[in-house]
């Protein structure tokens, strides 16, 4: 048999072999394609990505909801208004007074307590109740979501962009550049970060921020976005710088330099693609972190300020009426937890997919 087989060799066989080699059996796959294959099988991570996208879409449809379902805007007060529930008129804010309970006992109703969640018994109005100014919480929750997500994503973009540029400069040039930038990070690092953010937030709310070409108004969303983005730069830049220092010693960088590649080319075509997967994962996790940070800032009044809604300042308002209207603080908190959890789980899945052997999994 063996002899016949060898004698079968012909030009045809060679062409078949060649076809096999370049054909479908051996396919070159980029690292991104491999990562996508791994991510596709991680149903938990994908499920939470879908949840996050759903939250974003729901918030984006806030104007539609406000207009067609709730029939009120995010800043419309209904302090003295009533609405119809099951054919009865109900005050948006309790009028106060003494009523009789079901067993004939007297119940003292304090004035100014907002109604709780109505679900759909009031025809789409006050689905999640009202706040202390008689504003529809469901509408404010969606509009607040837009603000919280804008600040979270915007500040993460600012943070990752500047951190990457600074880390590339520090890691690639080393020497004096690295020393100056690292000391700069040390200073921001030594600041109590939340305190710095509150101080900046309060100062800028009063005076606005003159930038030369434009002046940011005191209640502009850009102020918390910039503050959060900038104070967190060293937390992102430090790990990236470490990675670049390690990459810089690799042979392919040496080869690129030996071939005469220019400095920008080495930085952006050789180094950047190698940290791209880290940046993507960091970005996801930083958006989650910044949404929490914004909520804390707005909670103490140094982020988004009333009447503009954000998840943090709705909780702040609810914190003063926990006893009588607990849903006011509860609902936006749940929105924050779901959003941040979705991003954290997706970020985890993304990291597992992009770098299955990541050394430190934070």
């Amino acid at each position: 048999m063996a002899t016949t087989e060898t004698s079968d060799f012909s030009l045809d066989t060679a062409s078949v072999l060649a076809a096999e080699e370049s054909g479908t059996e051996i396919v070159g796959r980029s690292p991104w394609a491999l990562a996508w294959r791994r991510l596709r099988r991680n149903y938990v991570a994908l499920g939470f990505l879908v949840l996050f996208i759903l939250i974003v879409v729901c918030c984006a449809m806030a104007p539609l909801y406000a207009h067609h379902v709730a029939h009120t805007g995010p800043n419309d007060n209904h302090v003295a208004d009533t609405f119809t529930r099951n054919g009865k008129q109900v005050n948006v804010l309790s009028a106060g007074g003494i009523t009789k309970g079901p067993n004939g006992e007297t119940i003292l109703v304090p004035a100014g307590d907002p109604v709780g969640p109505q679900w759909f018994s009031a025809g789409g109005k006050f689905v999640l109740g009202a706040d202390l100014n008689g504003r529809d919480v469901a509408v404010r929750l969606l509009y607040g979501g837009i603000n919280s997500l804008k600040i979270g994503i915007g500040s993460a973009l600012i943070c990752v962009f500047f951190a990457t540029v600074l880390a590339l400069l520090a890691g690639y040039f080393g020497g004096a550049t690295d020393t100056v930038l690292s000391r700069l990070f040390d200073v921001i690092w030594a600041f109590p970060v939340f305190l710095l953010a509150i101080a900046l937030g309060t100062a800028l709310q009063l005076g606005g921020l003159p930038l030369g070409f434009a002046t940011l108004h005191g209640n502009s969303l850009w102020i918390p976005t910039l503050i959060i983005g900038i104070v967190l730069i060293p937390y992102v830049a430090r790990p990236i710088r470490g990675q670049i220092l390690a990459l810089r010693e690799k042979e392919f960088i040496e080869a690129a330099i030996a071939q005469g590649a220019s400095t920008p080319r080495v930085m952006f075509r050789e180094l950047l693609p190698n940290i791209a997967s880290t940046l993507l994962v960091l970005f996801t996790l930083i958006v989650a972190n910044n949404i929490l940070f914004e909520a804390g800032l707005s909670f103490v009044g140094a982020g988004v300020r009333d009447p503009d809604p954000s998840w943090g300042n709705i909780i702040q308002q609810g914190s003063t009426r926990l006893q009588t209207a607990p849903s006011l603080a509860l609902v936006p908190g749940i929105a924050i937890v779901l959003t941040v959890l979705a991003l954290n789980i997706f970020g985890d899945g993304l990291r597992d997919a992009l770098d299955p052997r990541a050394k430190v999994k934070v």
Binding site: V187, F191, L200, G333, V337, L341
Partner: protein, 327 residues
């Protein structure tokens, strides 16, 4: 070792100086309102404001003002020093800043040290359990719980837990907020702080559990662990002496930095929600009034701890891993 200490000390002084400078610049350069106007109040005449500006020295050049402020801060730190005009005082209520910070230290330290012990021990324990039972239901439960823990805003958790567990509900098992000094009544001290401790720890337990889990999983595959097993050591001893000790390095680094950051302002929200009257709450109250001297004092207080602990972390590193020596 001596060179290391000197270099760190010099670095610390430079960092603290720059930090104080930046705080000063934020308040002087950024348009945030005139301090003289704030001190004078709403009904002040132009003459009142002018007088205050002169008396407090706001009419002088910024570097003179900065020098004055630093001099006053050092004066106030000197033991036994008393002088009405030589101490660093708040612009709004004229209280001595250093005294106010000292008054807040017991509450803040009690909160952060207690919470720190809880989060370090629980975080390490949870991480080790998850890593040892990797893939089983305990690991999965811990992983999910840790993720939920790090996704919660701490002030929201504090508000809700206070509402459900400490405000006269049927479920109430804790006393409501406030700080009882340790020297006054140690039992009430712990009882009042238990809920704030748990709330502050939860985020960190989730975070440390995750770091510890991956660290243990990395260490377990090292050659020296296999050697220890091969020479017949008891599994518990291998885990304790060889795996956990080496896996602790990243967690100890994090702990030093987080602990310092929490003392220096990271516990603001927890103090605020539970009304503990600590340093963080003092800062939060004064930030909203844009009162520079208290903010300067608290920021330097926080920065001091952050710088101190990052040096301590480097020393702890050397102890845990003799291959890394401070140079």
């Amino acid at each position: 070792m001596a060179a290391f200490a000197v270099r760190r000390l010099l670095g610390a002084i430079i960092v603290l100086t720059v930090v104080s400078f930046v705080v000063f610049a934020i308040f002087i350069l950024i348009p945030g309102g005139d301090p003289a106007q704030r001190i004078a109040g709403r009904t002040a005449t132009q003459q009142n404001i002018e007088n205050i500006r002169k008396a407090w020295g706001f009419d002088q050049a910024w570097y003179v003002q900065y020098g004055e402020m630093m001099k006053k801060l050092f004066n106030s730190l000197r033991p036994g020093y008393t002088s009405t005009y030589g101490e660093l005082r708040s612009f709004t209520n004229q209280t001595n800043v250093v005294d106010q910070i000292r008054a807040g230290i017991p509450a803040t330290f009690s909160l952060v040290i207690g919470a720190g012990i809880i989060w370090f021990v629980c975080g390490v324990l949870v991480g080790v359990i998850a890593a040892v039972t990797q893939g089983r239901w305990t690991d999965r439960t811990i992983t999910i719980a840790a993720l939920v823990g790090i996704s919660m805003p701490v002030f929201w958790l504090g508000l809700l837990s206070r509402y459900v567990l400490a405000e006269g509900h049927p479920l109430t098992i804790f006393p409501d907020s406030g700080y009882v000094p340790l020297t006054q009544d140690p039992i009430q001290w712990g009882y009042h702080l238990l809920l704030p401790w748990l709330v502050l720890s939860i985020l960190f337990i989730g975070f440390y559990g995750r770091v510890m889990r991956s660290s243990v999983l990395d260490t377990i595959n090292e050659d020296y662990v296999r050697t220890a097993r091969a020479k017949g050591l008891a599994p518990r001893r291998v885990l304790r002496r060889h795996v956990v000790r080496n896996s602790l390095i990243p967690v100890v680094t994090l702990f030093g930095l987080d602990f310092a950051a929490t003392i220096g302002g990271g516990a603001i929200l927890t103090e605020y929600v539970f009304q503990l009257n600590g340093v963080g709450q003092y800062a939060a109250d004064n930030v909203s009034r844009l009162d520079l001297p208290p903010i300067m004092g608290v920021t330097l207080f926080g920065a001091f701890f952050i710088v101190l602990f990052s040096a301590l972390v480097d020393l702890a590193y050397a102890w845990l891993d003799p291959r890394i020596r401070p140079t």
